[in-house]
């Protein structure tokens, strides 16, 4: 592929495909299907999801999944900055709607979900993240919330469930003094939500940290610098490979240790001071 074609494809991805993906997530994130009438129900993002989205955007910037100073630069044309800002804005709303789709709509469960998501995101603010780890962490977070909302909870409160399920659901409801207050939607809502989350994760995978990817060597150096010291040394070893000089250097301290041991043995074999005095 020529450089020109590659550049054009990147532009298409950045300016058209990514906003489309994120806006589709924003559209579908609040969609539920009524269980009885099969009518569409649209839930706009609650305020708390907008706050979660701000926290995730901060994580993106901290983990260098989005290098904001490269997306928005004063030396770029206004049109470029504008379209980059729009792409980032769509990412923000898509994140809010991704939270909206996995959160219960009301009651005690919504409060619990909010609390645990807030706790996790707040803790993450102080963790050491790189882009890949951050993506993995978000995947697990959304996956768990999705499982709880669309698979675990409906199995407890589904009207057609078995006796044990009904009893468990009843105990849960009585135990929480009726504050559980879940809404039951048509099963297709779960499929829509799953598709929405897949699309969101696909969008995150396609989102490059900077609009124009830097040269491979520089990117490697930058990534290397963000790693903790232990992993840096592992990278150094992996890159250097089994070189004879390096291997020799690595064996040097071992040799000295061996020598010390040998010396020690010789010392123990030589007559002690007491023996020498006795001999005298």
């Amino acid at each position: 592929m020529t450089t020109r074609a590659r550049s054009r494809n990147r532009a298409l991805l950045r300016y058209i495909l990514l906003p489309m993906i994120f806006l589709t997530v924003a559209l579908l994130g609040g969609l539920r299907i009524d269980a009885e009438t099969k009518a569409f129900l649209f839930y706009p993002p609650p305020l708390i999801t907008l706050i979660f989205s701000v926290m995730v955007m901060l994580l993106f910037v901290r983990g260098r999944a989005v290098e904001i100073d490269k997306w928005l630069r004063s030396d770029q044309p206004v049109l470029t900055n504008g379209s980059h800002a729009l792409t980032l804005l769509t990412l923000y709303f898509a994140t809010a709607q991704a939270f909206n789709t996995v959160m219960p709509e009301r009651g005690l469960l919504k409060a619990l979900f909010c609390f645990f998501l807030l706790w996790t995101l707040w803790n993450n603010q102080f963790s050491n993240f790189d882009a890949r780890r951050l993506l993995r962490s978000l995947g697990v977070l959304f996956g768990t919330a999705f499982f709880l909302k669309y698979m675990f909870l409906p199995s407890l409160f589904a009207p057609g469930g078995g006796f044990v399920k009904s009893v468990a659901g009843l105990f849960l409801e009585v135990g929480t003094l009726g504050t559980i207050d879940t809404l039951t939607f048509a099963p297709v809502t779960g499929y829509v939500s799953f598709f929405t989350l897949l699309l969101y994760v696909a969008g995150l995978i396609l989102l490059t940290p900077r609009p124009e990817p830097e040269e491979d060597a520089r990117a490697l150096i930058r990534s290397y610098r963000t790693l903790p010291p232990l992993e840096q040394s592992a990278v150094r070893e992996a890159i250097a490979g089994p070189q004879p000089s390096a291997a020799l250097e690595a064996r040097e301290p071992q040799k000295r240790l061996d020598a010390v041991e040998v010396t020690g043995e010789l010392v123990t074999e030589s007559p002690s001071e007491e023996t020498q005095i006795r001999q005298k």
Binding site: S7, R8, A11, L12, R14, Y15, I16, P19, M20, L23, A26, L27, G30, T37, K38, A39, F40, L41, F42, P44, L79, T80, G82, S83, L86, T87, T90
Partner: protein, 166 residues
């Protein structure tokens, strides 16, 4: 040059798609028919099925209120016509009216329909010139339906049996 074109198309596309999403969340259509009808209304090409509307009107005057409502709903799938929504509300009122009480549930549904009618009419005032109706404005109908949902000491008034159905 090519990049500029892609950027411009991208910005236009993003703005249009965002406007569509905001419109969807603001109007809350309940199915694809309503989405289409809403789009037609936005483009100024929406119109109800007049044959069905007239058929529903006949049913209404024969006091077949549920059947009339079904026909009106089919005639106005997007719920975009103020006059049709007014008639739907009126059918809820007449069906819910009884000598001793007024059905709460039907009155509530009627209120929803008449509120839609008011929202859809220009200047929020709707007058339907139909000699077969005693209430010809949406606000009158709304007041009557609201009275039907309220509960008070007046509900026990025995003279209520003499109040007329409008």
């Amino acid at each position: 040059m090519q990049h500029r074109l892609i950027q411009s198309v991208g910005i236009a596309w993003t703005v249009l798609f965002s406007a569509f999403i905001i419109w969807i969340y603001a109007t809350e259509p309940r199915n694809f028919k309503e989405v289409t009808a809403g789009a037609q209304a936005a483009a100024g090409t929406y119109d109800i099925d007049h044959a069905r509307f007239n058929a529903a009107l006949d049913l209404f005057y024969r006091e077949e209120f549920r059947a009339a409502r079904d026909e009106w709903k089919a005639a106005d799938p997007g719920r975009r016509d103020a006059r049709t929504q007014f008639y739907i509300a009126y059918s809820f009122y007449r069906e819910g009216w009884h000598y001793l009480y007024q059905d709460d549930d039907l009155s509530k549904q009627g209120l929803e329909a008449v509120n839609r009618a008011i929202e859809l009419s220009p200047d929020k005032t709707l007058v339907v010139e139909d000699p077969g109706l005693q209430m010809r404005t949406a606000v009158e109908l709304k007041a009557e339906l609201e009275r039907g949902t309220e509960q008070g000491i007046g509900d026990f008034n025995p003279f209520k049996v003499f109040r007329p159905r409008k």
